[in-house]
Amino acid sequence: MTTAAPGPGPLNRGPVPWEERAQRGLFGAFFENWKMVFMQPEQFWSRMRPDGSLGDALFFGWICYAITGLINIPIQLVSSALNRGQMDEAMNALKDLPPEARKLAQQYLTILLGGGAVGAVIGQIILYPVILIIGSAILHLCCLITGASKNGFNATARVVGYSYAPYILGWIPCCGGLIAGIYTIVLQCWGIARAQETTTGRAVMAVLLPIIVLCCCAVVAVIAFSAMAGAAAAGSGASQ
């Protein structure tokens, strides 16, 4: 195994454990790769070749998501059974919606309550490679905007695939998804910086750009909504 000093040291490119499946075996390679991404990200990203196989990285990300998805199925069934009362209340609260919107919402809640949840998880697992490709395309667009695209789309997509390693912990109730999501963002920033051979600032900007845009929209919407609500309250107070 190639070793590298902590911090942004020299890049010792070579195949990562997952790309040595023929020698290490499928499970050994997966476990070694997962451990390296999760525990030694600096070594992993410094070692990962930007021009390596795209399929290997996406396959790794897919397996990580599939493991969590399969573990999640019984948990989702139990939680949807426990939340049935709340769902019934939500159904009753839909009386004020327009008929068409109510029908759609009721269909959605019915799917959530029944075996649809399991179907949705299985569907997500099957479609996940496509989701990974779309995510890679969006992230690479952001890399182009921030000037962090030296090694091309392949490097970005490989970072996206391997950075999904924390999703194995996504099944942990309450905090699992949150921790996995945050650590995936951290790994993507780190990975883009190393794979695209750019500064950490540019990599962070590229990864956070979609999140920043969404947050700005949400903040503006909340401020606008608060201002309108305040104005409406002041108007009703003045008229009394």
Binding site: V130, I133, A137, G152, F153, C217, A221, A224, F225, M228
Partner: protein
């Protein structure tokens, strides 16, 4: 700018990823009435009456998937250009992955990249101006 034509290949690249993204987006817009879903729509526009820079993109996707280019242009011109580029990417992806048609690789200098970014930013601002005028002051466009 240098443009390089590689040998015929099926190597999956950025344009292919954009092509798949565009194909899925346009198919969803064609067959699912997204705008009619509950709670769909711009919260900023709903509360203030002023559009956000992305207002009209759902209509663009819907109208472009029905090949209504003038209608899409009216909703959001830059979004229409983006949707057209996605359509080109879909065709290019099919040609590339099915028939090994090579994708040209364009290499830009840092200075050229700078001007590309500046141009896109200016276009985004001009586009937002159009969307605001079209939503709030339509009489300026009709006159």
């Amino acid at each position: 700018m240098r443009v390089h034509w590689p040998a015929p290949n099926r190597v999956f690249g950025f344009v292919d990823a954009l092509g798949i993204t565009g194909a899925i987006g346009l198919l969803v817009a064609r067959f699912i009435p997204v705008a009619r879903l509950p709670f769909w729509g711009c919260a900023i526009r709903r509360t203030t009456g002023w559009p956000c820079p992305g207002c009209g993109l759902t209509r663009v996707a819907d109208r472009m998937s029905h090949f209504n280019v003038p209608g899409a242009w009216e909703a959001n011109p830059l979004g229409t250009v983006a949707a057209m580029l996605f359509m080109v990417a879909v065709v290019a992806t099919v040609l590339h992955l099915a028939f090994k048609v090579p994708m040209p690789i364009a290499t830009l200098t840092p200075r050229e990249w700078y001007w590309v970014r500046v141009t896109v930013a200016v276009l985004a601002v001009v586009n937002y101006g159009f969307v605001v005028v079209h939503t709030r002051f339509p009489y300026l466009l009709s006159g």
